[in-house]
């Protein structure tokens, strides 16, 4: 990523759209480095939702009155906008869910419960988030399908030889994380998808940590399903999206039942509506869809390439600072195109939760715990890790504050 691009990213101007970044605790301005958990939400996104409620709030589908027409158009077009953003073919391929977690469950229920059996295998990776790991594990138990895990190597990458070994003609589904929320690894998802397809398996890619901070093209990846969450990409809570190839979604059974997903209902039976409505029963997240569109507009105005470049830059800086500390262990690959904008680490002799508490005393907000990857932590041999994760508004100054807080913790626990 060219330095020129980076220089043109006006972080100070960006920060002005986030009043929350001005918050102080006991006189100290917050340093928000918990972006992998959730990103902050810029004013244009908040305002877009307020405008919705103040100007054209109404239920969608079928409403003949003006307000419902406006709300319907906004809601329907939100599907188009998301489709366009990730390179899907059209709104038929975009289903709004609560979050990434529900997107995994949607496919696990609507496809998995109906298609999987004791002869099938589900292949996951050892670095899966609980959203996919627990979901497929439990659907495996219910259907009798075997679950296997692609190994993570010492340097935090997927063992692709092991992937080729595990994925066989018995594999029905591969579910893999695009970017690990614990290791920061950017996985070679299109290679993984190719291997799955060679064996006629479907591939679900969990893009919760990828869509927020890099250009993503589901068509280029050739993923069968792809999921992400609004709240991790400068958008609102309460909305996520599932991308699915149209022909697959068409064949699939519905997931939730109710109004808005049916074609014809009698006391005896029902038939289903067109895509994507077949998978969106009930009153949907209308304001949230409006907010998600505003977030996409906002991100594209910056440019996803520049978002990615900024993250890489900050991450490289943080990585270098932390590597210089002899008592800090960092997880995951070295900075570069295979490492996304987060750094998981531990400080020798300081429990990750104590570290996070001491950071908080310095108003540095990081996350500590297992980051919903317990089995991966077991494998790493630690109960918890600390994680600093960056977004487009973070600065090197903020990284310096992180490092200073580590010094303080080290002194306390010396």
């Amino acid at each position: 990523m060219s330095q020129q691009n980076l220089e043109s990213l006006d972080v100070e101007a960006i920060r002005e759209e986030f009043p929350i970044l001005e918050r102080e605790f006991d006189g100290e301005q917050v340093v928000y480095l918990d972006n992998a958990a959730t990103t902050q939400t810029p004013d244009p996104v908040v305002d877009a939702m307020s405008d919705y409620y103040r100007e054209y709030n109404a239920n969608v589908h079928r409403g003949i009155h003006h307000l419902s027409q406006e709300a319907s158009i906004a809601y329907e077009e939100a599907h188009d906008r998301v489709a366009d953003f990730i390179g899907a073919d059209g709104r038929e391929e975009i289903i709004f869910t609560k979050n990434t977690t529900e997107a995994e469950n949607l496919v696990a229920y609507a496809w998995g419960l109906n298609e999987l059996g004791p002869d099938d295998e589900i292949v996951l990776t050892e670095m899966e988030h609980h959203a996919s790991l627990v979901t497929w594990q439990q659907i495996g138990k219910q259907t009798g399908a075997d679950v296997e895990y692609i190994r993570v190597t010492e340097d935090g990458r997927l063992d692709m030889d092991h992937a080729r070994e595990l994925i066989t003609d018995d594999t029905a589904m591969l579910s893999a994380v695009h970017v690990s929320n614990t290791l920061g690894t950017v996985n070679p998802v299109s290679k993984l998808v190719d291997i799955a397809h060679e064996h006629d398996a479907l591939a679900f890619i969990d893009g919760a940590q990828a869509v927020p901070n890099r250009p993503v093209d589901v068509d280029a990846i050739d993923a069968d399903f792809y999921a992400f969450s609004g709240h991790k990409m400068a958008g609102p809570t309460g909305i996520g999206a599932l991308y699915g190839k149209q022909e697959l979604l068409e064949e699939m059974q519905p997931y939730l039942y109710g109004g808005g997903m049916i074609r014809k209902v009698t006391f005896e039976d029902s038939t289903w509506d067109e895509l994507p409505w077949k998978f969106e029963p009930g009153t949907p997240q209308i304001a949230e869809a409006v907010g998600l569109v505003a977030a996409i507009d906002w991100l594209e105005e910056i440019g996803m390439d520049r978002v990615q470049a900024h993250e890489e830059e900050i991450t490289r800086y943080a990585y270098e600072q932390l590597t210089a500390e002899p008592d800090v262990e960092i997880y995951g690959p070295e900075p570069g195109s295979e490492r996304a904008g987060l750094v998981g680490f531990n400080v020798d002799g300081v429990h990750a939760h104590d570290l996070a508490s001491i950071m908080n005393d310095h108003t540095v907000a990081i996350r500590a715990g297992d980051h919903c990857t317990q089995p991966l932590h077991d494998k790493l041999g630690v109960a918890a890790s600390a994680r600093a994760s960056f977004y487009v508004y973070n600065t090197k100054d903020e990284v310096d504050k992180l490092v200073a807080a580590i010094d303080d913790a080290r002194q306390l626990f010396a």
Binding site: H61, R62, I64, S68, Q69, I73, R263, K264, T271, D273
Partner: protein
């Protein structure tokens, strides 16, 4: 040559959203005299005795159901006679009535080339986005009937529903 009634769906609801609500004026623009006249006095209402093809379509949103009967000339290309039956809202009924007149003398290819804009031009009024489905039902039924007749389509009883 399928002459048994079969059904067809109008275009999906959301396509209609391309029509911006902002083009609508106040006042019963959609219910101008011509529309009401065709609704109250439908032309060619009924069934043909010996149609070349027949097709039925449904728009469950409004509960509209329309059957279109088409009889071709001996050239098997020119539309000689059209009749429609069924019931539903004023927009769908008026549209069917007007279409039944309009199609006479046209070729099947001309019918198949018709699109939503042609229907709306024919109606001569602005159609609000949520009602486009009603407006195009008759056209879609006639087109799908023609395609089935030509062997290009094989649809079962299909319907659309958005809520």
């Amino acid at each position: 040559m399928p002459t048994r009634p079969s059904t067809v769906a109008p275009e999906p609801f959301y396509n209609s959203l391309a029509y911006s609500f902002s083009t609508m004026g106040l006042g019963s623009d959609m219910y101008r005299q011509q529309i009401l006249d065709h609704y109250k006095n439908p032309r060619n209402y009924g069934e043909l005795e010996d149609p070349t093809f027949t097709h039925v379509g449904e728009n469950p949103m409004c509960g509209d159901e329309i059957r279109m009967d088409v009889k071709l000339d001996d050239d098997e290309e020119t539309i000689k006679q059209v009749a429609f039956s069924g019931d539903g809202c004023a927009i769908s009924q008026a549209s069917a009535s007007m279409l039944s007149k309009e199609l006479r003398g046209k070729t099947v290819d001309e019918l198949l080339e018709m699109d939503r804009d042609d229907v709306i031009d024919m109606l001569g009024v602005d159609i609000s986005p949520m009602r486009v489905k009603c407006a195009v039902l008759a056209e879609k039924v006639a087109q799908d009937g023609a395609e089935i007749y030509q062997g290009d389509l094989d649809v079962e009883k299909t319907t659309t529903e958005d809520d």
